[in-house]
Symmetry: C2
Subunit: 323 residues, 2 copies
């Protein structure tokens, strides 16, 4: 028997009661970019804004998934509901092969106050950022107090998403090797809080010292916030109190300055990404009808991408063509 189709507006109403089925289904529609769901997601957006959203990002191998697993248990001990949105193909939630993590995550998955969702990163055609933030709103309206977005910290989209949160945590780790560290350097600047994981290792002290040296000469933010460096060991459970404390202080600092600047920056990012997605979606359908002919001319070098793209874009925006 086929399941009846439930309109997204109805799912949105049921999300407010944190009905797990409605949350999961509306998330799937947001992820798929279903046009039918947009007005409901608009409704959800207007009701959201209560949760504290934490972006946690770090390169593969930085131990960030294990860290998130332990961190969520600490947050739960404080009493609030916690949701995790994992945007990371290597994440254990999406089938990574780190056995220890899987077991830990299985424990979390049994806790009714924890919601875990992994999102695909490919094929989303630039729509991943606004889909991820739609998912955050759904979880916010469903009553989750803490929402963690975990991203892999490589790739512009992933880094931007981690930054479109209230508190951005960047995870570094000892022993990753120079090539990986060089990539990481590009994401240090977005951190509100720096974490060095695996501090049970002997070489972690050097990573902590290196990071502090790198940060020494950076200016404090306009609002006076100076990103602290926190050492953690997921193995021993050490350092998590300090991380919670740093997040609490950052949240208070945001609130003290009205949080207006950050909220407006996030809203502007959000709107840009949504407008880009809607625009590219429409462009794609125009391209579908014209791409074949144009590609033929291009592959024979009888035209060039700029001339053909210019025709297309003029047709798209309703401008008159030169020709």
């Amino acid at each position: 028997m086929p399941r009846p189709y439930i309109p997204s507006e109805e799912l949105a109403r049921r999300v407010e009661e944190d009905e797990t089925f409605a949350v999961a289904r509306l998330i799937s529609r947001a992820e798929a970019g279903m046009p039918e769901a947009r007005s409901a997601l608009g409704t959800i957006y207007r009701k959201a804004g209560r949760a504290h959203v934490i972006g946690i990002t770090g390169v593969p191998g930085s131990g960030k998934s294990t860290l998130v697993g332990v961190f969520v248990q600490k947050l739960r001990a404080l009493g609030g509901k916690v949701a995790i949105v994992a945007i990371d193909p290597s994440s254990p939630y999406s089938g990574g092969s780190i056995l220890g993590d899987r077991i830990r995550m299985a424990d979390l998955a049994l806790d009714p106050g924890v919601f875990i969702r992994s999102m695909a990163t490919r094929g989303a055609l630039g729509g991943m950022a606004h889909a991820a933030l739609d998912v955050v709103d759904i979880l916010d309206v469903a009553g989750y107090d803490w929402i963690i977005i975990e991203t892999v910290g490589v790739g512009q989209d992933e880094v931007e998403i981690a930054h479109a949160t209230h508190t951005t945590v960047v995870v570094s780790a000892p022993g990753l090797g120079d090539e990986v560290q060089a990539i990481k350097a590009g994401i240090l600047e977005i951190a509100d809080i720096h974490v060095v994981s695996k501090c049970d290792r002997a070489d972690a002290n050097r990573t902590l010292a290196d990071l502090k040296t790198m940060l020494k000469d950076t200016q404090p933010r306009e609002d006076g916030w100076r990103p602290p460096v926190v050492g953690l060991s997921s193995l021993n459970g050490e350092g998590f109190e300090a991380l919670l404390d740093a997040i609490g202080r950052h949240r208070a600092a945001l609130a003290a300055s009205g949080g207006e600047r950050r909220r407006k920056a996030i809203a502007a990012f959000r709107l840009s990404k949504t407008a880009e997605t809607l625009t590219l979606e429409r462009l794609k359908s125009l391209l579908r009808s014209r791409l074949d002919d144009a590609a033929e001319k291009l592959s024979a070098r009888r035209s060039d991408p700029y001339s053909e793209a210019d025709h297309l874009v003029r047709a798209f925006t309703g401008e008159k063509d030169h020709v």
Copy 2:
């Protein structure tokens, strides 16, 4: 004394004589997405199509930069001119700290038959793919016989660029750990040739065996090509003949089938990316004038991203607004 501005059309003419200055300057303009350069890049495109373009991609730590260094020396021994376009923030050309590689690259840099260029991956606003392929055309018209695009193999753009070449080489390596391997799995399917680097290591045999097992059940391509697996050691210089041989066979297979399908697919990809870039560029200038007001309404939750984006996109495409 300020340098006189040389029109891009003139640079394009001088590129045909492989004048290094003109090549470097036109590349910079392509990379910056300068509107003035577009017609010249169109001219370049129509003259290009002679070089064999090889995409080499692999995750950080796969040893792909070292491999490229040795591989280019082998190609040079065959007599042709070689260009490298590195799209990888961790690449030694762009300041990575792998000393051995740097020395090797310094040797290459002294060879007048080798051109090395690294491209930034951030801030390009989706324009990286078409900029990179513009750079390839410039080098093609400048007479480079082999053009290598090296990308980091993480992130959709990077993977797509590596695939928009004649021959795509995916580099795996032993000992990278599960998290990194899981990411890599996503890029295996684009490979025309698989390489396992660091085969001087004892654990390389397992990586080779694992990869062959993974590939055993995949179907041959429509054109009958079955991606071979080549083991390499950059340390000992072993396996590079086999890689050259595999590339030669793939090139011949492409030519035998007319290469038409691949050329059209690349042209279609190229046009899509260029049209997207030109469209988003125009959208950005519309957004600039309207973003502030809209972000204000959004951050107060008085509106939502979909409603605001819909207004914007309607204004952009000249459609009538509902309101």
